[in-house]
């Protein structure tokens, strides 16, 4: 085939939800290029999952199976996909930008003397000279246009939340089994069972109001300043990664790609610059208010209301005003 091949991600028979965002992106890109879109799912036993895709608008669904593909290792996945891509011959191979994809896709692209265009936020397929892929640079301060120049296959991954999983077009597709050849000696890493550090006791995803704090807070002693605002608003207190890394707030209060994904009625970001890894965790919020000293902070790109200024002056005033308004 030519066209677009979307590689979906599953763990133990359960889809990674970003898989369908990638599928929507692949269908849209293929339609704009006037080529077909196919999907692939890898695992020890994936015929059931592959069947679930037969109602989608796809040329084909490849079910690539081998017992050694699970549990996940980069070695097995790269080997399996190298075989599949060589056999299928797509123009583009598209992934969701998951942690797992970050672990193997750069190595897969290297086997084809290609470079993965990672974490793509937009695809302009119809421009002259082949598609242009948009990525964010410098923690989201700039956007950049990338092109692939080496001929096919081109590899790309799409950012979480950029395409809508519910936009996948319905249709019909046939499943084709693909037998992977793998030898245990090819797999160098021994993965252990996934685990959690501690039971998650804070569920930020159901909080209607979240006050979130970032690097701008400066030091741990200043945390009560935002805690008081959160208390006044009846909000959950959350944080960006550096705050939790420093141990100023527990890890379970972290919002972003390595923490929780939230969509509250209000997300009030204090001293958060808005790195991509943070934005993917909160851009589904209904309303965003941002307070930051840097007028160029990327958080303002997703904010409904913005305040450029000193949080140490503004936050106490806001707490006072909120308490007064509540009477």
């Amino acid at each position: 085939m030519s066209g677009v091949l979307v590689v979906l991600e599953q763990h133990g028979g359960v889809w990674n939800r970003m898989s369908f965002e990638a599928l929507a992106a692949g269908q849209k890109m293929a339609a704009a290029l006037g080529v077909g879109c196919s999907a692939a799912v890898l695992g020890a036993s994936v015929s059931g999952l592959a069947q679930e895709l037969t109602g989608k608008k796809l040329e084909k669904v490849y079910a690539a199976e081998h017992a050694l593909i699970e549990p996940y290792t980069a070695d097995a996945t790269v080997t399996a996909l190298e075989q599949l891509v060589k056999q299928v011959g797509p123009d583009f191979v598209l992934f969701p930008h998951t942690y797992q994809v970050r672990d193997f896709a750069p190595a897969l692209a290297t086997r084809f003397k290609q470079v993965l265009v990672s974490d793509v936020i937009a695809i302009h397929a119809e421009v002259e000279g082949g598609p242009v892929f948009v990525r964010q640079l410098l923690q989201g301060k700039l956007n950049a246009d990338y092109r692939m120049t080496a001929g096919g296959p081109g590899f790309l991954s799409v950012q979480a939340g950029t395409f809508r999983g519910d936009a996948v077009e319905a249709g019909s597709a046939a499943v084709e089994a693909f037998a992977v050849t793998l030898d245990a000696a090819q797999i160098r890493n021994k993965p252990g069972e996934p685990f959690r550090e501690s039971a998650q006791t804070v569920d930020l995803s159901s909080a209607p109001v979240i006050v979130s704090v970032g690097r701008g807070i400066g030091e741990q002693e200043n945390i009560p300043l935002v805690q008081e605002l959160a208390d006044a608003l009846g909000a959950e207190l959350a944080a960006s990664r550096p705050i939790c890394d420093n141990g100023w707030l527990p890890m379970e209060r972290q919002v972003g790609s390595s923490g929780q994904t939230v969509s509250p009625k209000l997300y009030l970001a204090v001293g958060i610059s808005g790195a991509i890894q943070h934005l993917v965790g909160m851009k589904g919020s209904k309303a965003v208010i941002a307070i930051n000293k840097d007028e160029n902070a990327p958080i303002f790109e997703v904010a409904d209301f913005g305040v450029v200024g000193d949080m140490f002056e503004i936050v106490p005033e806001l707490t006072k005003a909120v308490l007064a308004a509540k009477g």
Binding site: Y99, R102, D103, A107, Q114, P191, P194, G259, A287, E301
Partner: protein, 255 residues
Amino acid sequence: MKIIVAIKQVPERDAQIRVAPESTWIEEDDLAYTINEPDAYALEEALQLKEKNGGEVIVLSAGPERVTSTLREALAKGADRAIHVEVEAADLLGRDTLGIAAMLAEAIRAESPDLILTGLQSDDLGLGQTGVVLAELLGIPHATIIMQVDKTDAGLRVKRELEDGWFQHVEMPLPALLTIQSGGNKLRYATLMGIKKAKTKETKTVAAAGATGQAVTLERVYLPEKQKKTEMLTGTPTEIAAQLVEKLKFDVRVL
């Protein structure tokens, strides 16, 4: 254990970024540079491994003359020696991830290290791939987004971060490459003694081989279009607070 830490020098987080006239990159002249934050954690992990298991820590960076300041800081923190792959800024921009990894791989092969550490991604380009591509070029196993590293009899046992607060341990043989996540350790500062000692440590400069074409090219950089129309509120802190309360009451409706 002989450990190489691959470090990238990037613009400081608070730096004012201006797009260069041709829109192909940013203005670099007045930019302040620093160590890429995840690479600082990779260096810290390497120094702690050396303290526990002995061995040598070598820091490696590719770039123009300015990157030697970042290498010197790493030496002051405790790295034993440094390798500077010298390549002009313009030349560096003409290399994609594969080209840069190939350049680093050449310098690494000459040292035959047991372990290579680097940050999981860079704060500027953020492609998050150099480590994995490097491992593939060197033909060694890798693991990414690593929080903790322990030496075992057979090799390494690492703690890998997964999504949504999950982790897993992975056992792997040496030599290997790991990409390190921020926050696994507390970063150390260079001591006065360290800064003094760094002056006597070796920095080897090697010339980069010529670029050999790119598989992907960066065509244009530009300010992102706003995804939302942001209403900016101005005034004294008291005035801003009053306006925000109005918004909370009548627009967001949470008061």
